[in-house]
Amino acid sequence: MALDKNGIAKRIAQELQDGYYVNLGIGIPTLVANYIPDGMDVTLQSENGLLGIGPFPTKDKVDPDLINAGKQTVTYVDGSAFFDSAESFAMIRGGHVDLTVLGAFEVTENGDIASWKVPGKLIKGMGGAMDLVAAAKNIIVAMRQTDRDGNSKLLKECTLPLTGVNCVKKIVTDLGFYEVKDGAFVLLERAPGVSIEDIKNATEGNLVIEGDIPEMKL
């Protein structure tokens, strides 16, 4: 059975390591924060100038001066720091953030990603996405593997304007967990109950399946 949003977030959370500094994009990536293993020290960076995002506030603690990159009200944890946007992207560009998780419209077998613009639809802007994908040491994309019409979003080439090239390292979709390597989507794990056949049908780009592919353990 294909994963739902929370399933995707859960699987990505298994990639976290103690001491990681992580930037979570808007949408499914934000949900990863809910599945950080107990006792693991993971610090969340918000590119609008906060290292140490905490949970959403209770109603009485809402503070307009304290928002995340999605402009939602948040809190901060002990040992946080606030800074300006240049410092924030210095952290990102300088490779100090250990992991970036973000959504995408399309990803290619070379690790190209399209995530910010759909021609014909209104242009909202790339925000920090281009900076994040160009600079992060380790990028995991969280996405559904096919669009509403069943077309694959794991492609040979992007059809939409690019956010960055050769940058995506791993992908977790509703169907599987992939490493992007040597021009291919290398299947590492299947979502529970999803067959190799299901995955093949939902992958347009070069798919590599070697040996037995285990099911995710969530």
Binding site: K71, A86, A90, M126, P161
Partner: protein, 230 residues
């Protein structure tokens, strides 16, 4: 040297049509509310506004958009604004979209006297355009330029009569770099104190960058997405 002005109207009185203006803030967080309101009341048009976002309908820069005072927006993200969409689609408004980190660094470079620098963001995308491309450490980069503006309008939490500024939480964002990148920088603060009251080890924007400062009033601090856990 008197940097302290009475209010926004007095502080912005020499901003003219056609000028470039940087405005601090991320979404509606940390925006110079008083200065924006004074611009709306002034008869100034054809502004080039450099701001990470463009406000929302009738809040923040949305107020200037509604009065057609903006000719061009230089931003990284302009969603959440219907009037903006309308003007963009009708061709009334010119928009230059820049990756957020590149925008922040271009402003920082402008204030720091660095005319150009290389970054990886945007390589291989439409942001690259005809910019110079160069490989460093096995990775492709593009050449980006420093950015200044005729005026920078920033908002701080506390400021002193010399012009030193301290921001609160995530309301800093673009304000700190913009203060240094404005040819003339106008700071509005929630609390204006005599020089000597702020901890000199805790100043975010040193006074040298601020030409004018005033005590702001009636901050609305509107929240775009109030999200709570209860």
């Amino acid at each position: 040297m008197q940097k302290v002005f009475k209010n926004a109207k007095e502080a912005i009185s020499d901003i003219k049509s056609g000028m470039s203006i940087m405005l601090g803030g991320f979404g509606l967080c940390g925006i110079p509310e008083n200065s924006i309101d004074a611009l709306v009341e002034a008869d100034i048009t054809k502004l080039t506004c450099i701001s990470n976002n463009a406000g929302i309908d009738n809040v923040g820069l949305g107020k200037l958009l509604r009065k057609h005072q903006i000719y061009k927006m230089i931003s990284s993200y302009v969603g959440e604004n219907k009037e903006f969409e309308r003007q963009l689609l009708s061709g009334e408004l010119v928009v230059d979209l820049i990756p957020q980190g590149t925008l922040a660094e271009r402003i920082r470079a402008g204030g720091a006297g660095i005319p150009a620098f290389f970054v990886p963001a945007g390589y291989g995308t439409e942001v690259q355009g005809d910019k110079e491309v160069r490989e460093f450490n096995g990775k492709m980069h593009i050449l980006e330029k420093g950015l200044r503006a005729d005026f920078a309008l920033v908002k701080a939490w506390k400021g002193d009569t010399k012009g030193n500024l301290i921001y609160r939480h995530t309301a800093n964002n673009f304000n700190n770099m913009m203060a240094a990148a404005g040819i003339i920088t106008i700071a509005e603060v929630e609390e204006l104190v005599p020089a000597g009251e702020l901890d000199p080890n805790c100043i975010h924007t040193p006074a040298i960058y601020v030409q004018r400062i005033f005590q702001g009033t009636d901050y609305k601090k509107q929240i775009e997405f109030e999200t709570t856990s209860d």
